[in-house]
Chain length 150, copies 2
DNA sequence: GACGGTCGTCAGAACCTCGAACTAATCTGG
DNA sequence: CCAGATTAGTTCGAGGTTCTGACGACCGTC
């Protein structure tokens, strides 16, 4: 958690990841806001983006977003109240409930996807196709040893 | 903010960055905790890690950590109270004050640096030297267009 | 020396996050 | 088939984080 660059001018890898991550997140969040989806927060978005097309269990959302179940539950409460998601029973397990995108959530999805693609295109243009591929590939590989949820 | 993978099984880049970033952060935070530095929070650490060897202005800390000045000020308050940092006057500007690592902060630094190096070594081993270099290089290049601070 | 801009703080409110404790449903071994 | 262990999710309450807005002090310049 301290800056002791092993080689001059090289930022530590955690910070490098953070900068890029936040840039992406901020871009998408800002675009959604401009498109009229201004009634949710970043924390809510971080959970919402992980909902799969067929719904996702709360516990699964919590794990992949790296928050506790309580936090996830709380955020889903809010998202439900503002019409972005809906809780439905899980047919395979009466204890569980599937969180699904509701009308407003479905409407926001293409906006988010468009900006995501736009930013990725910008990054690809900046890096060049080859280095972009390498970056994606390295990150995906890293995920094998860094993703506790996976 | 939605998952519409352009190609099957490919996670969106924001999520890939997030996973790796959080893995690094959690590792370092946990190691510090084990080493007895258990009286500060993740938010405080995010600010503390950006303090340079000669001290850093509050505004600068806020910008690079991407929080408001008020938030940074609040976190520095706490860090000062627990002996990790100290506020000293900036000789070049009487309005400003330099935030510097205090005794406890200096003690924590090598622990953090060691784990950082350890994790980077693990990642390098997993990816292989070549892909590791490519990852670092791509992230550093990306920073040119994603870092609002620098 | 007056002006606009910058550095940092204070105060207040909203929000996020977690630990503990709980209900309900599932699973497992005898 | 049923008692105990486990898992899904919720509620409650406390503490931490973050922002907006307003402010006093200081800088640089004209």
């Amino acid at each position: 958690m301290a800056d002791v660059p092993p080689e001059p001018d090289e930022l530590n890898t955690g910070l490098l990841l953070f900068v890029a991550y936040r840039a992406m997140e901020n871009r998408i969040f800002a675009a959604l806001e401009r498109a009229g989806f201004d009634d949710f927060t970043l924390a809510q978005a971080r959970v919402m983006q992980r909902i799969g097309p067929d719904g996702t269990r709360l516990t699964e959302l919590a794990e992949s977003a790296q928050v506790t179940k309580q936090t996830a539950s709380h955020l889903v409460d809010q998202l439900e109240r503002t019409g972005y998601v809906r809780r439905t029973p899980d047919p395979t397990d009466a204890r569980a409930r599937l969180v699904r995108l509701a009308e407003r959530g479905v409407a926001a999805q293409p906006v988010a996807a468009a900006v995501l693609a736009e930013v990725e295109d910008e990054w690809r243009a900046h890096l060049g196709e080859r280095r972009w591929r390498q970056l994606r590939e390295a990150l995906a590989s890293l995920r094998e040893i860094t993703d506790p949820y996976r």
